[in-house]
Symmetry: C2
Subunit: 256 residues, 2 copies
């Protein structure tokens, strides 16, 4: 617990607050606090400190990258200020910039951790099949022909527990690449195509690399039967390109 | 015809080009050319003149206001350049800013006029019932309780031919206020509410004033049975406020 070093009196007043929030990733350098960059976590920290008049440390469920959106990001923080959750929500929405909105605020048990208690995360990746002016920061425009049947076939090979090193931006810090993909569905609506993916965890750029590879499959450049071999290669170069950030949304985080 | 003063040779080569276009109204001072303002018509004129190397005059089907979007605006212009419609489309989308996209380009009979030949226009007004960060320039956020049944009841009073002076921004230039409303439907989806309206013509701010009045009805401030009296008043002050521009979309223009 972050509050172990506190006095008994302050510890007794300590509450753990869970937030569900939405943000437009377009003008953020992602979720995580970085020096000299506008990030969601830093804007949220600044707003909370203004409201609660104490140092606040925020834990987020998913570290979204620059340009990635979230409609259901989850975060938690500790506070000993006595402000009601509904008041915190109103004060945050009054203080935060318009590209972050707080959807719910609730008091949760002290042991709740937005990141480590998350069981599953759901991401959506949206593509438009023709050029658009309206809402153009919220999907990737891909105008070429796509064989959606082949993309659905390929999806089956991702379901279950696999090593996703081929679908991960290489990093010396990350050594565990096993993820359990529970759902990988395609939803077509008018000129839109959406990939819905649910897994216990996601590696860096994983959804965007799966999407980039799926486009190659839809174009007939990679056969769906190649997916098991691409997974087995455990090599980023075996998979397709990384699709643009703006089509990606963190939609939901699942807890017990 | 705009081309009456041309030489016979140039007249023979003259073609009338019809465009369907989409634009994000957020950063435009509306459709119509104005000095020292960024408008859709002026951006389009500039791009066409760059591509076709001749003076171009554009007629639009609907003069949308500042901040109003269009997914199906129609325009036409005359040219004696021999460029194929598909080439014009590609060149325009390569030249125009990203908040205007050309959907279709076709050659039409010389007598076609995008404005005067339009039989009906379809507008959508979108509301979100909770605060949102994503796509926030593309709907109005109205968080209060709304009785949608009453709004549907009120809608029936707008259907048919009526004098809409009460639902029109006053202007000495406009003396004809009769419009024939063919459709006024409400579509609910998750936290969204959309008003779909089709009429032969629309007066200045008409959809936005209908929407503002509908909100008063949904809140219980105006009874649905009051609508015939508001119409009969022929007085802008009898109707509700003008809803924000960003929720409004010109979706389709109908021709014979």
């Amino acid at each position: 617990l972050a509050c172990l070093s506190l006095s008994k009196d302050r510890f007794d007043r300590m509450r753990n607050i869970k937030l569900i929030l939405e943000y437009d990733g377009t003008e953020f350098c992602g979720w995580q606090i970085q020096p000299n960059a506008r990030t969601v976590q830093s804007e949220l920290k600044k707003a909370l400190q203004t409201i609660l008049h104490e140092e606040i440390s925020i834990t987020g469920a998913g570290r979204t990258d620059t340009g990635v959106h979230a409609s259901g990001q989850v975060a938690n923080f500790f506070t000993d200020a006595g402000m009601e959750p509904s008041k915190i929500k109103a004060a945050l929405n009054g203080t935060l910039p318009r590209d972050i909105r707080i959807i719910t605020v609730e008091s949760v048990p002290l042991q709740f951790n937005a990141r480590f208690d998350a069981k599953k995360r759901e991401y959506h990746y949206k593509i438009t099949r023709r050029e658009r002016a309206i809402a153009r920061d919220y999907f990737w425009c891909y105008k070429g022909d796509l064989n959606i049947d082949k993309m659905r076939q390929a999806s089956q090979h991702f379901i279950g527990e696999h090593d996703f090193q081929s679908f991960c931006k290489a990093s010396p810090e990350v050594t565990a690449h096993i993820c359990h993909v529970e759902t990988l569905d395609w939803i077509e609506e008018e000129d839109f195509l959406m990939m819905k993916i649910i897994a216990d965890r996601f590696l860096h750029n994983m959804v965007r690399i799966i999407m980039g590879t799926m486009i190659q499959i839809g174009r007939g450049k990679i056969d769906p039967a190649q997916i098991p071999h691409i997974l087995a290669a455990k090599d980023r170069k075996a998979a397709g390109a990384t699709a643009p950030a703006k089509g990606l949304f963190l939609v939901k985080v699942y807890y017990e």
